[in-house]
Symmetry: D3
Subunit: 134 residues, 6 copies
Amino acid sequence: MTTVKAPENPEDDPRVKAVFDDIRAIRNTDFINNIWRYLAFDPALLEEVWRDVKGVMAEPSLLDPLTKEMIYIAVSIANACDYCVHSHTAAAKAKGMSDAQHAELLRLVSQAGRTNHLLNGMKIPVDPAFDTET
Amino acid sequence: MTTVKAPENPEDDPRVKAVFDDIRAIRNTDFINNIWRYLAFDPALLEEVWRDVKGVMAEPSLLDPLTKEMIYIAVSIANACDYCVHSHTAAAKAKGMSDAQHAELLRLVSQAGRTNHLLNGMKIPVDPAFDTET
Amino acid sequence: MTTVKAPENPEDDPRVKAVFDDIRAIRNTDFINNIWRYLAFDPALLEEVWRDVKGVMAEPSLLDPLTKEMIYIAVSIANACDYCVHSHTAAAKAKGMSDAQHAELLRLVSQAGRTNHLLNGMKIPVDPAFDTET
Amino acid sequence: MTTVKAPENPEDDPRVKAVFDDIRAIRNTDFINNIWRYLAFDPALLEEVWRDVKGVMAEPSLLDPLTKEMIYIAVSIANACDYCVHSHTAAAKAKGMSDAQHAELLRLVSQAGRTNHLLNGMKIPVDPAFDTET
Amino acid sequence: MTTVKAPENPEDDPRVKAVFDDIRAIRNTDFINNIWRYLAFDPALLEEVWRDVKGVMAEPSLLDPLTKEMIYIAVSIANACDYCVHSHTAAAKAKGMSDAQHAELLRLVSQAGRTNHLLNGMKIPVDPAFDTET
Amino acid sequence: MTTVKAPENPEDDPRVKAVFDDIRAIRNTDFINNIWRYLAFDPALLEEVWRDVKGVMAEPSLLDPLTKEMIYIAVSIANACDYCVHSHTAAAKAKGMSDAQHAELLRLVSQAGRTNHLLNGMKIPVDPAFDTET
């Protein structure tokens, strides 16, 4: 069940082929996952999203690759994005996340969800000490 | 503007005093920020929340302290929790997050927000390769 | 700071006056809070929203008035609606919610936020036993 | 897997039949989609929801029918409502949304999701020039 | 499709067995639903979550058991947590929620969602009368 | 109260000056609103965000400028982004949105919020007729 239709032979379009070639080269695998296969329905959108995902995941970076995947998982959980949680959890595991680290991530994200709800209910003033501009 | 009232002399209650003493000892500072001062309106809730926040932030851990603050920020942004974004950004800076790292975190979280929306709109099937149980 | 402008003399419009009169009669008070004063910028929208809010809060009902305010608070917290959290917490207190009940509500809502995040991260199958149609 | 049970012969209830007849007449089709078939479990709720959905989609209106479907899709994506994204995307396509327009909508919604996360993380002051009441 | 793997013989681990025994005793049933079976992948996380879920659902309490399930459903709907909506709706029905009460809950939660969106769009000032500290 | 600090003389940095010049030229005004003044704390992030916002708002487009602002408002409301609701409502008004159109947008977005909550609570199956790939 989907709202967009993946082209049957996406690489017949040279713009799509160029992106898929880049994905295969950078990831060193022949596996093209569904986000790219379906985004091929609009080559310009495919190019933009791939350019930006490649950009935020590129090395060198001030955040290490596994940390970036974990942050991606955290946001995706809070936004209830099924595909994103699955794909970034798989990516984090491929980058070495152990079951114990996964459990710690889930513990942290769920406790953050808890205090987020608590404070959105208490509506207390932010401490002036937290202001960056003072 | 708040929905709960901070007690005027919270440490008159020995349960509150015990939590505040623990906060001061663990953080090595006299500063008690507003979440704890307001949670003092219900000592049992204060104890529970402090126990759990202390637990997820405790060392040693499989995630380093700055990474944990960044993940906390990421969830708080996605949940639009004002107090939480401010308090954990301040905490991350206190633990050494530079402006450049902060920018990278914001870039990553906002790109995750973007692909979350994209995929929640496309509703494509999750790749079977991402299933942990197969 | 607001995106809509409250009319200066809203009751000059007879449709607005009729709604305000109904609010005063049902609530037995002269206090018209801001949602109604600002919605007066569009009398048709004001009428619709008041009709429906009055409907869900009407008695007799299968849920008691305080329970309904608490459920309203719970949804408003999860949706990060500032005005709604404030107005429904005030309404719940006016209907008798004690500080201890408020604390219990916050405990429950925040624990629900926690398990929501946990399960949105685990993405486990729903037990067939939970299906209403089987 | 569902939490409510669709009645087997919903139109045995005259209130349900009246709503279904109205849906068929207004949409000029015999197809009754699942939201209405399941809401039939409570005829009063069915009547209310249909009355209001019919109201916001009615013509003439200050927004054209396709724009309204696109706005509905945008909200449903941000709220992660599966059924809503599917049903309103199908409705938008039935009203003429091309694949290229769909791609542009997804681009826009996902960029909005990105800047929403960016600004919920930066927590900067709203420009006074944006205030409607000044 | 899941991101964590349920152990095949979870009760081989004595910490898991202790939790499962407690679940069976408190709920007076042999049925262990999936959240616990999957959380068994990390016994420490299982213990924490069970301790806290048991705590918020424990009796005596200032909120009755059915009200607590309804509030849990309300939060889970707003957070789009599939598993949570299913499990707590099933629990509420097991505690006596009728179809008519379920309809009233859905009416209330969806109207709250509506006014949440309305007010998040209007961004009006909170009435000073709602402030707990004045 | 903010988590990032706006540089005092942002245009001393030539990358910032180039973006600000482009904003002034495209919008034909000297007014640089806060998102850009604060993003100047990281010129690379400023460049990226401006490039993409300019891209989605560029003409010619398959969606007209006012429709795009309304969709931006819709997403921002659902995500509870204060700054975004204010800035895009102001932009929509500058592009001709009347008070009556604003009321209709708020009516539509809030009704969408309502049915989103209703369906996230009912969890009914998506009609096979809505599937793009069948």
